[in-house]
Assembly symmetry: D2
Homo-oligomer: 445 residues x 4
């Protein structure tokens, strides 16, 4: 976790304070369930809650240091915490944790933390989606050149570009909701998952109160395929961030300049060069995407634990649990801000679209000539002649555009007059299905 790439709300989920509060809640709920079942005195459960809750709520740095001190002695984090709680709760504390195993607390706590983290990420995705939708509608009909292989292909609109990213992030949202759902389970099932010393109804009670589902079958732990799927979902989202960041980096190139990351009015460029407005946010996001993606591998390697559990997953999760969610949260927020304020240059888009003399319209002319009666081969040759002439004259003062070269071609002119041709190459024709696509994409949103 690099402070520079962290936001406080997400970071807080992973703080020791937060973890201990969740531990207490799990223990208190388990005690309450056992109190109801008569496994422990109901009164004990009441005292645990009454005395423990304020203690957990007010946990301080000094308390945490005290717990750490106990842990150094006992070499066991959950026992250290329980000992510290007992110091405040008194004798009833002996009824805490009865029949539970540490993993019951640790794994259920991780579920709560990951679910909360997912909620923050979903909220941030919603902000991003709102920004993308707003900008997509703003530029629904802003013409720009569509590129395949980095080469001009045919006209599209900037709104359509953004609609594609919006649709991808809607899918990413759905993936994250599914991943959150997978991860949000509770296990209170004892040392090897048999409920040998704890009633399954305790698990049901705790799960319900925490908004989790019951883990149908645990070993000692909640199975790690759930977590692997979760981190893979984050990796796919990170890759979506990279795709949009890459688009912005391309658009901001000196030779393209169709859009730019917002540049603060008083902001000095990195030098005296006014053009030196670097797409540093999107480059930064590209790197952060790599980082988040990299965490998927250890998460996948965590699945194959030995027998009913080994603890190799734990050190991995101490790292990637916070690091992946905090980094992705920061990246999503940065992307939202970036897209929200992206400076768009429609006039540059138009200039680029027209920069090759109009040959981006060649396919439509080809089809029109075929429909007007030319053979496929004949039409192809005619279009190619005009296109080559246009291409070769590009940049010359006397350069003639594709349209004029076509009209100057007898074979073409015999089939299409200027009016007909203008209709064929009218960019608005390219956009006649924009509405359909927008309806598909934004209908549900």
């Amino acid at each position: 976790m690099v402070p520079r790439y962290s936001r406080p709300e997400m970071t807080a989920i992973w703080s020791p304070e937060s973890r201990y509060r969740i531990w207490f809640e799990i223990e208190a709920l388990a005690a309450e369930a056992m109190g109801q079942l008569g496994t422990i005195p109901a009164e004990a459960a009441r005292v645990i809650r009454e005395k423990g809750a304020p203690r957990a709520a007010a946990i301080s740095a000094a308390d945490i240091a005290r717990i750490d001190e106990i842990e150094r002695e006992t070499r066991h984090d959950v026992i250290a915490f329980l000992t510290w709680m007992a110091e405040g709760i008194g004798p009833e504390a002996r009824f805490m944790h009865q029949g539970l195993t540490s993993s019951d607390v640790l794994d259920t706590c991780l579920s709560v933390q990951l679910a909360r983290a997912a909620d923050l990420l979903i909220a941030e995705l919603d902000r991003l989606l709102a920004a993308l939708k707003r900008r997509a509608e703003e530029h629904k009909y802003t013409p720009t050149v569509g590129r395949s292989h980095g080469i001009h292909a045919e006209p599209t609109t900037f709104g359509l570009k953004l609609a594609g990213h919006y649709a991808e992030f809607m899918r990413n949202r759905a993936r994250l909701v599914a991943a959150r759902d997978e991860i949000a389970t509770c296990a209170i099932s004892g040392a090897v998952g048999t409920f040998a010393a704890v009633d399954p109804r305790v698990e049901e009670f705790v799960a319900a109160r925490l908004g989790l589902k019951v883990e149908p079958v645990s070993t000692q732990v909640i199975p790690r395929d759930r977590h692997a799927a979760f981190f893979c979902a984050l990796a796919v989202i990170a890759s979506g961030i990279e795709r949009l960041a890459t688009e912005v980096r391309h658009l901001q190139r000196s030779e393209v300049r169709e859009a730019e990351e917002y540049f603060h009015p008083g902001q000095k460029g990195s030098s005296a060069m006014p053009h030196k407005r670097n797409p540093v946010l999107s480059e930064n996001l590209t790197g952060l995407a790599r980082v988040v993606r990299g965490y998927a591998m250890p998460a996948l390697e965590n699945v194959a634990l030995w027998h009913e559990r080994d603890i190799s997953h734990s050190s991995v999760e101490r790292v990637i649990g916070p690091d992946a969610t905090i980094t992705l949260d920061f990246a999503l927020a940065r992307l939202t801000g970036m897209m929200d304020k992206l400076t768009v240059y429609p006039e540059r888009m138009t200039a680029n679209l027209e920069s090759l003399g109009g040959v981006v319209h060649s396919q439509k002319v080809l089809l029109a000539l075929t429909q007007a009666g030319l053979s496929r081969e004949g039409a192809y040759r005619a279009v190619q002649r005009a296109a080559m002439a246009t291409w070769e004259a590009l940049g010359r003062p006397d350069a003639r555009g594709f349209r004029d070269n076509l009209l100057a071609d007898a074979e073409v002119a015999g089939k299409l007059d200027a009016a007909a041709l203008d209709q064929v190459i009218d960019p608005q024709r390219d956009f006649r299905h924009v509405e359909t696509i927008f309806a598909r994409v934004f209908a549900a949103g």
Copy 2:
């Protein structure tokens, strides 16, 4: 694709013949849609189907060589195919592919192939699930030691172990169904996805006939986050295979011998050593899991294509499309066969369970003593005394078990007599919630 790790049905999906047949189907359906819309003569669509279908159905190695030859000339695979089709269809062939771009055909074909591959994988998962369920029920109450950290913990049943893997593969099945759903989209939207030269209804028609959904917004291509999510799902499944394979490898260790991969009656061991029955299938599966997992990374890197598309994803998919699905299909089938025929040794399970003199029951005794009135600390000390005595005498001829050491302890005996103790350490008490867990796991299956 290594022949040794391939099965014919999955391999066939990725053959050139299969691919060309799907291409033809897409082109023929698109022509039919255009025929209905009047974009091309309906008669042309009929001829394309009538003459093209048998040609595609009967495509031979010689035909493929011919297409390859054309491709070497034109350096374009789709054009090569269309040229070859035209040789059989005649003049109406010029109405094929009108307004389409190659990616419309290539990407929709990949969707069909991945969906078919997913169907085979789901079917194989179902066979695996059936095998796991059968074996789980067979060993529902076969006692065995549950292990955490590779160390004996408490009793569980072999059926419970298998139920855990069953539940994981049910989740994997759900993930694959979701991934198949994601991948099964159709794009017929032209050079930059604007439908500039093809009506969106053509896409709807083709999609419906192929059992695909319409891609709401494509660029030139179907967005690659779908494919990344698909290959990540395969990686999670592979990791589940690894977990079960790892369990079997552990169970078959010389010192454990609780289960063994089936050994053919006439099969020679790798040497004269009768114990040399190696878990080669599960080791092989462990390696194949690594291979499949490794394909997730390039799939994730494929997401961030440039602008409306670049073709960098293509070489990746030519490799991992077949290799990941063929390898996973083989691995699932191998795992199914292995689990179906796994030789289980309940007597060895019992022997191991008892091999530490009964100290695996210590936690239950601890709880019983506490409930019988001993303080937590007192109970702990008493249990520890008996356990240490048991542990230190292990293997000695005069070794006394944990039960007897407990009964010989005055403090314990004052609280629990032999009958009470036997009830406490009765393994069946450990299993009283097995039914509940089985109901949770197999209810839906």
Copy 3:
């Protein structure tokens, strides 16, 4: 292994024929060593060589089918091979493989194959280096704009760009030589590496004859960290390919057009659009780089085998051994061809360099003004004034360049006259250390 991305010489290394010939060579050499040591009759070793060598040399598809048939029966590949050899060698065959374990043959064979593969890759790297050097020298002083963040920064030369890639591939060559060295070891040490049944001198003999080093300590296998390091080296090389491919893709963008992959005279573009010359080779290479990189992960996971060995590495290596080397070999050859024939457009480079009115020279002017006595702040403000004026007028018919704006600025003009300024912004000044850099890079090459 995708045929489309394979070259015959590398593919041949991984053929069954090749593998069996290496197996025979190892067995024959081991027999010869044992014959010399008197472990087996020297005459037997002679017969094995005499009768076995032509049999191995002439191994046919039918022979391989026969070996496969025996393997299906014995479920053991090395035994199947030995049985087939024995059919040709006769009774002396019983002296083959004495005291050896299968892994002695399999692992040493893999070393030979990987070493040969590395040799081909090194040879291809040398061809690539030669091409890069030639092009770098050709364009040693071809001015082009250097870009950071995709934004114009300062002038550089196209030769310098290529020199950077040359230097990277020289490092890659050194890495591969080191990786080859690591992998080229021989183990003939028996079932658990103790030489219990085979003399260490046999290993030394075989190693020497095969041009390998002796593995100082093997278990049953050659340790897999060697192979992990090898595949990591390939991954780093693949990433270098991606960097150069990415450069070419950028240079070929419609808006940049500073270089293009060679376009065959008769080659049809992907459509009627003459500008549609797509950087398909470099995009393809980008994808292949992802594929090769992906193989590093399973290779790293192969290191932690259980105890003296488990066979989980084997299925991984059957896949990535051929696939990684064949793919990288193809990619290097493709890159060499691409760079060899790359069409470079110096005039476009100059046009782009000047496209921002000369503001790329601002840093040098800033320094010159400071040295001419302006304060740092004053110099900065003056340069910024001129640069902003230049930038804002870009594209206007009356646009004035940076140079002229500077000269029109009283504060600047008071310090630098036209002659002095022209000297400052002379691009040749930027290139005065090109020779030094070239000397550093190409001195050793």
Copy 4:
């Protein structure tokens, strides 16, 4: 960076204080070089050093907060640092950083940090090697069973096992030395690496003083293939840690118990179960290995920067630079401590070795019978008879061992009498080449 997995010396390398001190050193050295060359006044360089050095040395948290504050304003970390330095140095500060670009400072600083980190790692590797060597020599002739596939194979010694790991870590040390060498370069070459505004001799001077090599050709940055190779080397080392950790985890299994992580005298087990000594250190190391391995992927993706540089690598390196080196440092130290104090149980090793009645000696008997004149098939059948009889009686009170079963076999007894057989199966025969192997491994160490 998780505090729990961090050690202070390595963490200090990555502190802001450390970074700023290195930055100052680079700037001061560059100024000194320029002073010597006459580019700036020699006196200025002297003042920069004289006033700047104590300021850098004494940098406090308050200073860092001040620098951060300036950065928030200027959005540029190097400028913020220079501004803060200038506040202490006075007017001569304007001669700092002349002709340099930020990356000159940032990249050279990263080289220094990675080289220092590598030095700490190498030192820790040396401690690990010493521990392994000591334990290997201690157990040079401690018999234990060698296992392939987790199945007993033949006798080996525990010292040989450790020698194998020692040899692997010697290779890892060599890899790290090579990786350190690769990474230890200095670039002071200006905005696009052309030395347009800085003399190459400045770079040479700074490099020499910092103990770095000159980067032969930089763009704006030091090429990232160097860093990728560095992090790959860490990944290979991590995998070696995992292999040794996995061995210990296996040895400590309840059924194996041949070795155990050291258990503190007063340490409470995780429960009342005395056998519950969990291999938590080696499990933890297994997880940390996954984490370090995962960082290789983003490092490899960092290689293909755009043109002369983009800044996407930066966020990756801010994470993985500290995290990979700190985690690996901690893991190596933990592993060293673990191996140093590993409790070894030679008697359990012997017990396990003999647990299968002696069939682990079957291969040697087979060879001896063949050499005594039995046909290969006859010998095999005889050995198999005795082995099967042994195997099937395992655990029965009247069980007869392999040796006795052999002697009871007429065919065997006709060839080998008891004395001869005892010589054949004498475990010391298995160990007669241990010395040779030790000499190979430890000769250089």
